[in-house]
């Protein structure tokens, strides 16, 4: 075999999850920020700024889950039962906030209820995703190709902290998205929220970085010894640069700069987690090679993926292009 198929697929799945995090991150973020904007007009604009794209954003989550089943079935079979509660809560939360996109335009009387559904659903989904990340980082118990822990193992101070961190991070993505996509008082308010959320996100990343190495000795090793240690020096510098980009963009524009800076923060954090995991897919328990389906499965799906993923990126970009520019209240799609 010339190609290391499991490795290629690990990279593709990692890309799918990252795409999910940043894309659904900003539309979940809009939901998280909902309580800070009380005026119906503002909320209509916020919702409309993501209405044409949220569906595609969430599809990356299905690719992450479905892809894991396809190419790393063992990892899927271990992770899902281990994260049973947070995943089911996340799914239920996604239901509420997903249908809110359509329902809230179909009623006057119950509109406030679907506003709550959108806000709570988005926040809970983000929180559960953060918990899932934390639980995965701190490690899960595997015996005989199966999860061997209890159904509350995921709940620790560390996972609660990562849950909160992700809510703040998505809030930043949402706020900077609003800076980019809206104008007037709404954009001004989003600007000041972005500033606070940017510092919040940096603080959360700092706490996460200091805490993680002490959850497992392997991380400590990874972070401070060997070639990957260089990353531990570079990342803080790059994080600082991203912060400057965000702050500069907020002050002087252009309006898409803060969003790009926030994306940068997510990519950096994500890369750090990826380096800490490698070569495991379930930290300390299952490696990429262990979990991989046979090459015949990986090759079959890869043949389609190399054609379809660029196509998907192309028409997704097209869809964003169609709905480019500032969204105003008169733009109401509904």
């Amino acid at each position: 075999m010339v190609l290391d198929l499991p490795f290629i697929w690990a990279a593709l799945i990692a890309f799918a999850v990252l795409a999910y995090v940043v894309l659904d991150g900003f539309d979940l973020g809009i939901g998280i920020l909902f309580p800070l904007f009380r005026a119906k007009q503002d909320r209509d604009v916020m919702m409309n700024s993501v209405a044409p794209v949220w569906d595609g954003n969430e599809t990356w989550l299905v690719l992450g889950g479905g892809g894991l089943l396809a190419v790393f079935p063992l990892a899927y079979a271990v992770i899902m039962p281990a994260l049973y509660m947070p995943i089911i809560l996340m799914l239920l939360a996604l239901i509420f906030r997903g249908v809110a996109f359509e329902y809230r335009w179909r009623t006057r009387r119950a509109e406030f209820l679907w506003d709550y559904a959108f806000n709570w659903g988005s926040t809970l989904a983000a929180f559960c995703q953060g918990i899932a990340l934390g639980a995965l980082v701190q490690g899960i118990k595997v015996e005989n190709r199966a999860y061997a822990g209890g159904w509350w193992d995921w709940l620790t101070p560390f996972s609660i902290a990562t849950g909160l961190a992700l809510v703040i991070g998505y809030g930043l993505l949402g706020a900077t998205w609003l800076v980019m996509k809206t104008e007037g008082a709404l954009a001004e308010k989003a600007r000041s929220i972005s500033r606070i959320a940017a510092f919040g996100t940096i603080a959360a990343m700092g706490v996460f970085s200091l805490w993680t190495p002490f959850t497992r000795p392997l991380y400590l090793e990874r972070w401070f010894h060997g070639p990957s240690a260089a990353f531990s020096v570079i990342v803080p510098v790059l994080v600082f640069l991203c912060l400057l980009v965000i702050l500069r963009g907020l002050k002087r524009g252009p309006d898409h700069l803060p969003f790009l800076g926030a994306l940068g923060l997510f990519v950096l954090g994500y890369a750090g987690i990826g380096i800490s995991f490698y070569p495991y897919i379930v930290p300390h328990a299952v490696t990429i090679a262990d979990a991989a389906a046979p090459d015949k499965s990986l090759g079959f799906l890869l043949a389609g993926a190399v054609v379809l993923i660029p196509l998907i990126l192309a028409y997704t970009a097209y869809s964003y292009w169609v709905f480019r520019g500032k969204v105003t209240h008169e733009d109401g799609y509904h």
Partner: protein, 470 residues
């Protein structure tokens, strides 16, 4: 209560509940997406405003049904792992890539073009907008193709081997995808989706006609829907029959349960029309049966021998009563659909399609029949596969995650509450939209010049709002 301590039963209930709710939405949106494409195509070809108005009317309903389908579908993609992790580990290498293709070739396509289809007509112009609608419709059909291939493989596995870790691994992808029951199931399900949608569209048209509304939209949708029912209902009966014969060949125990044949019949098996199957006593009580007809239907020979469940070990039999009854519900409704199709044809030929109140009442009554038939059909085929998840190879009892019963029970209750709340509200909104044909004025002027708007200009959209329904 034993129900709350039996984790396997709870996990099965949870899957049955979440998938039953889910299938309702695709069954409707597969058909509706194609209908929307037809409506928009007709509008582009004829510039008849009725088609465009109908498109806008059904587009709003589609948006809600599709959103419900998406969120209930995301749940499905994680259900395999949360409650059925052993199955996922073992079957993942075979069915996983098929589902991966479903995501890559269908879900992204639908989601990517849905935004343009719902909100983008002014921005992209009618030609590209039509392309978006076609892509959404094509996506729903692709999705059905892949997922039915997966389900069919679980019913009639082929093209696989088993490795040292006990996993099913692909040997011949062609055989995996085009496994023996796949073509039959695909045709049967796509027809079912079209029929279901036609019945809903027909019922909405009938309702407005019964109200005395002579709106051209009501007449057009009723006429189109009845034509669709008249064509697809008989086709569906032929397809269903072929699917049944295929099942007899590959999953005989399922057909035995459908027929209620506890005993083998060496010289012609009777067709039991109705009765109460008693699996303990191994007989069908109070049965009304037509001698030898089952052999005629299944073997095309009155005296052909048919084996019964006595040839299957007791612990490898499906639950007979459920399969027996769900099958009869499906077939009974199928016959009623055929009757509706023929009745509408008769009125069409007499020129009374839009005048017959009896026909309109019948069509209104049949509005939900497609959904019930789809559910009954899926119950027949899925319960009929028991006690296996992968037929003949992996038992349901050996497929499950080792998750504590209280966790499964708690999540099941949460799903039930949330689904009834959320999808109940969605159904309410859909019904309310169906009841209200929006006013037509201005529409003609408003949508006329659209074909000239070819360059998207987000800051100065020519027309704003209003095109997403009411």
């Amino acid at each position: 209560m034993t129900l709350f301590t039996d984790a396997e039963l709870l996990a099965r209930l949870q899957f049955a509940f979440t998938i039953s709710f889910h299938i309702i939405f695709p069954a409707f949106s597969i058909g509706l997406a194609s209908y929307l494409a037809v409506l928009e195509g007709l509008w582009l070809a004829t510039r008849n405003q009725t088609y465009l108005a109908l498109f806008d009317f059904w587009k709003t309903i589609f948006a809600i049904a599709f959103a419900m389908g998406v969120v209930s579908g995301i749940v499905m993609s994680y259900q395999f792992g949360t409650n059925w992790s052993v199955f996922s580990d073992k079957a993942g290498p075979v069915i996983g890539p098929l589902m991966g293709y479903e995501v890559l070739s269908a879900f992204f396509l639908e989601a990517g073009f849905l935004g343009v289809m719902l909100f983008g007509r002014e921005r992209v112009g009618p030609g590209l907008h039509f392309l978006a609608t076609l892509m959404v419709a094509f996506g729903t059909l692709m999705s059905a193709t892949w997922i039915l291939s997966v389900n069919s493989w679980m019913q009639t596995p082929d093209g696989y081997a088993i490795n040292a870790a006990g996993q099913f691994i692909p040997v011949d992808w062609w055989k995996v995808i085009f496994n023996p029951s796949f073509p039959y199931r695909l045709v049967h399900m796509v027809l079912a989706a079209y029929l279901t949608t036609a019945l809903v569209v027909g019922a909405v048209g009938a309702w407005h006609l019964l109200k005395g509304d002579r709106d051209p939209r009501a007449k057009t949708m009723f006429s189109m829907a009845m034509a669709m029912v008249a064509v697809t209902a008989p086709l569906q009966i032929v397809a269903g029959d072929a699917h049944g014969l295929n099942t007899l060949e590959h999953q005989p125990a399922k057909v035995m349960a459908m027929e209620g044949h506890f005993d083998s019949h060496p010289d012609g098996a009777p067709l039991i029309l109705f009765g109460l199957p008693d699996q303990e006593e191994r007989r069908v009580d109070y049965q009304i049966a037509i001698p030898k007809l089952s052999s005629l239907i299944l073997k095309h020979d009155l005296n052909a021998p048919l084996a019964g469940l006595d040839t299957i070990p007791d612990d490898r039999e499906p639950p007979v009563a459920t399969v027996f009854w769900s099958f009869r519900v499906m077939v009974g409704l199928g016959m009623l659909m055929l009757a509706l199709g023929l009745f509408s044809l008769w009125h069409r030929l007499r020129g009374t399609l839009h005048a017959s109140r009896a026909l309109h009442r019948f069509a209104l009554m049949m509005g939900p029949a497609g959904f019930v038939a789809v559910l009954a059909g899926w119950i027949t085929t899925e319960v009929g596969r028991q006690p296996w998840t992968i037929y003949g190879l992996l038992l349901t009892s050996q497929s499950r995650s080792d998750v504590a019963a209280p966790a499964v029970a708690a999540s099941l209750i949460a799903f039930i509450i949330v689904y009834f709340l959320v999808f109940g509200a969605g159904t309410f909104y859909i019904l309310r939209l169906m009841k209200r044909l929006p006013q037509l004025p201005e529409q003609d002027l408003k949508d006329g010049p659209l074909r000239t708007v070819s360059l998207p200009n987000p800051a100065h959209s020519a027309t704003r709002g209003g095109h997403h329904g009411a």
